[in-house]
Symmetry: C2
Subunit: 355 residues, 2 copies
C-alpha cells in the first residue's frame, strides 16, 4: 500500500498541472494513468497535431505540451504509475483506499491518500473492444489487445486480426514475415485500410500471394469449446452482403486503437450529470469529501472542455485540497516571481530581488 | 467615435488572452491601456523577472510572456490604444459609449461597443503622485510626471526632482550634465537611493561638488503665484527632524514610478466587494449587462489572483459575450486542433487531418 497525501488519476495536461499546483503548495503525489506514458488525449489522439490555444504558446503539439509540462513538474518528483486503472475507491477512517488493476503484466498498485484528484479527461483510454459475449473471459489466452507471443505449434496457428489501421496491418505483415507457421485473416468493417503506403503495398502483395485473407465484416459472436477453461474455436462474422461467415480461428488479436471509457469511476458514488462529474467550481470538489475532479470530465455552469479551463480547475482543486490537508498553513497567496518558499520548492534561484 | 463589437480595457496577459478568445470566436476588438505598451503588471512590475507558473512555460519573464501572447493574437489584428485611460462609460440604446483621456499628448479616444471587458489587473498603472492640493492644476506647465523639455531661460531654472530610484537619479545627472543652466534639488523621503552603482557614484560626486542638493523629506504643500494661470513658486517640505523647509522652485518633476489605481471605474456603477468587481464565474459578467471583468480585478467564490485563472476567466467572458453578440451562431465547442473555421481565423494551415 502506497501512502500519499494525494493521488492524481490521469496524466493528461490537466492532471500534470494538478501535480504542479500541489507541488507549489508543498504537497507531493502519485499519478496513475491507463496509458503507457504521460499526455492523456494529447498523447493518444493528437501527439503530432498543433494546438493553438494554450496561452503563451502560439503553437504546440500535444507531445510538445506534454513534454513542457513534464519538465515543469520535475522539481516535485511525482511518482507515475502507468498502464494502471483505478478500479475501486473505498473510504477507511477518512482516508481513501484506491485499488488499481494493471492493464499489462505488472501488478496493480494500491494507494492510501486523503485527497484524490480525478483528471480523467474523456475517460480512461483503453483498447476499443467489440461487444461480444464471452470476450473478456478469453483475454490473455486466446483474445489479445496487443500482439501476443505466439505459442510454439507444429500445426499453423489460425489467427484473426481485427482492425483497419497501421497497427493491425503491420502486425499482419509481421505474422506473414515471421518464422511461425500461421494462417492469417484480417477482419475490418470494410475493405479499406488506413496505413502508410509501403504497408498497404505489402498487404496487397500478401493478399495476391494468398498469404492473408481479408474479410470485410463485423464480428458477431464467438465460438468456444464450451468447457472450462474456455478456448476460442471460431468467430461468426456479419458481412456487408448480410451473409454470416463462420471463421475457424484459434486466436483473436484486436488492434482497433484506444478509446476513452468512463470506466469504473461511474460506480464510485460521485454525483454525475450527463456522464460528467458535478463539481463546485470554486474548489472543484465532487459531491464526496476529499475527492476532486478537474478537466474534461467535470461539469459546472459555463464549463467549456478546454485545456485552458482545466489548468484553472487544477489550480482551484489544489488550493482546496491544501486547505483540507494543511488547514493551519493557509496564508496570503504567494507568487513564484517573488516568494522564496515557492522558489525553494521549485528548486530555482531567482535573481536577487531589489528590495 | 470608434465602433467595435468589443473594447478590452487593459493589455496585460489576461486582456491579451481576452483578445485571443474573442478572435477565435470571430469577434474583433479594440484594446485600451494606460501604459505605453502591452503587458500590464508583467511589463510594469516584473518585465525581467521569471514567472514559473504559466502552464507549459517552465520559466518565462513578464516581457517574454507578453511577447508570446502578442504573437499569438497577431492573426486577430486588434487595435491598441496605449497611454489612454477610460474615464466614462455610459449606455446609449444598448451600446456602451466609452470616453478615454490621454495620459500623454495625444487626443483621447471615444468608443461605441456592445461589450466591454475590464481586464484591469490591480488597477490602471498611473504615475505615483504625492497628495498635494493644487498639484493637478499645474501638470503640464510646472509639474511633470516625465522629464519635460526645459524652457529656454537665461536665468537658471530651479528644478525639484521627486523620487528615489534609477529614473530620478538618472534625470538629475542628465540635468547636471546638460547644457541648460539649472539649479537641481533631489527630494526623497530618506537619503538612500536605489540606483545602479555608477549612477549612485556620479550622484555622490555631484553632491560633493555642490551641483545637486539632496533633501530628505516629504512634500507638504505647494506655493503658487495665486493668479490664473497658476505658476509654481515653491514647495514646503516636511523633513525627518520635523522641520519644515520652504524650497523655492520653478518646476517639480515627479519620478516615483508607476502605481496601480482603481481609477474611474469605481464610479461606473458596477457591483464591487472589497475593491474588486463582483462577477458570475460562469460568464465573468459584472452586475451590468454587456460589461465583463476578468483577471486580478474580479472577485468570485474561490478567486485566486493568478494568471492561470485569468486566462480561464477571459475564456469564459469571451464565450458569454459571443452568446450575447451572436446568439444565432452558438454551436458545439470547436477545437483549434481540428476546426477548419478556427484555423482559418488563426490564419494557419493545419496538417491534413487523417479522416
Amino acid at each position: 500500500m502506497i501512502h500519499s497525501d494525494a493521488v492524481v488519476i490521469g496524466a493528461g495536461p490537466v492532471g500534470l498541472w494538478t501535480v504542479f499546483e500541489l507541488g507549489l503548495l508543498g504537497i507531493s503525489c502519485h499519478v496513475v494513468d491507463t496509458l503507457s506514458g504521460p499526455g492523456g488525449q494529447c498523447a493518444a489522439l493528437y501527439a503530432d497535431k498543433p494546438i493553438y490555444d494554450i496561452p503563451g504558446l502560439p503553437v504546440v503539439s500535444g507531445q510538445g505540451l506534454t513534454q513542457a509540462l513534464m519538465r515543469q513538474i520535475e522539481p516535485f518528483q511525482a511518482q507515475f504509475h502507468f498502464g494502471q486503472q483505478i478500479e475501486e475507491v473505498t473510504q477507511v477512517d477518512n482516508v481513501w483506499h484506491l485499488r488499481a488493476k494493471s492493464l499489462g503484466n505488472s501488478a496493480g498498485c494500491a494507494f492510501a491518500a486523503r485527497t484524490v484528484f480525478i483528471a480523467g479527461g474523456v475517460g480512461a483510454f483503453v483498447p476499443k473492444a467489440p461487444a461480444l459475449d464471452g470476450l473478456h473471459a478469453l483475454v490473455g489466452t486466446d483474445v489479445w489487445f496487443e500482439p501476443p507471443s505466439l505459442p510454439v505449434h507444429t500445426a499453423p496457428v489460425r489467427i484473426c486480426v481485427l482492425g483497419g489501421e497501421e497497427d493491425a496491418v503491420q502486425y499482419v505483415l509481421a505474422l506473414i514475415e515471421g518464422q511461425q507457421p500461421v494462417q492469417v485473416n484480417l477482419l475490418h468493417r470494410r475493405d479499406v485500410f488506413k496505413a502508410s503506403p509501403p504497408a498497404l503495398q505489402k498487404l496487397e502483395s500478401a493478399r495476391a500471394a494468398g498469404k492473408v485473407r481479408v474479410i470485410a465484416g463485423q464480428p458477431l459472436r464467438l465460438h468456444t469449446t464450451g468447457q472450462s477453461p474456455q478456448r476460442l474455436t471460431g468467430i461468426d462474422i456479419d458481412t456487408p452482403a448480410d451473409d454470416v461467415i463462420a471463421l475457424e480461428t484459434d486466436m483473436l488479436v484486436i488492434l482497433q486503437g484506444l478509446g476513452p471509457k468512463l470506466g469504473p469511476l461511474s460506480r464510485w458514488g460521485l454525483q454525475m450529470a450527463r456522464k460528467q462529474l458535478v463539481v463546485d467550481p470554486s474548489t472543484c470538489a465532487t459531491s464526496v469529501h476529499g475527492i476532486f475532479a478537474v478537466g474534461d470530465i467535470v461539469d459546472y455552469p459555463g464549463k467549456k472542455k478546454l485545456i485552458v479551463s482545466g489548468f484553472h480547475e487544477a489550480t482551484q482543486a489544489a488550493f482546496a485540497a491544501a486547505a483540507q490537508l494543511r488547514p493551519d498553513e493557509a496564508g496570503p497567496l504567494q507568487y513564484t516571481t517573488s516568494s522564496k518558499l515557492l522558489q525553494q520548492r521549485l528548486g530555482v534561484q531567482a535573481p536577487a530581488s531589489d528590495t
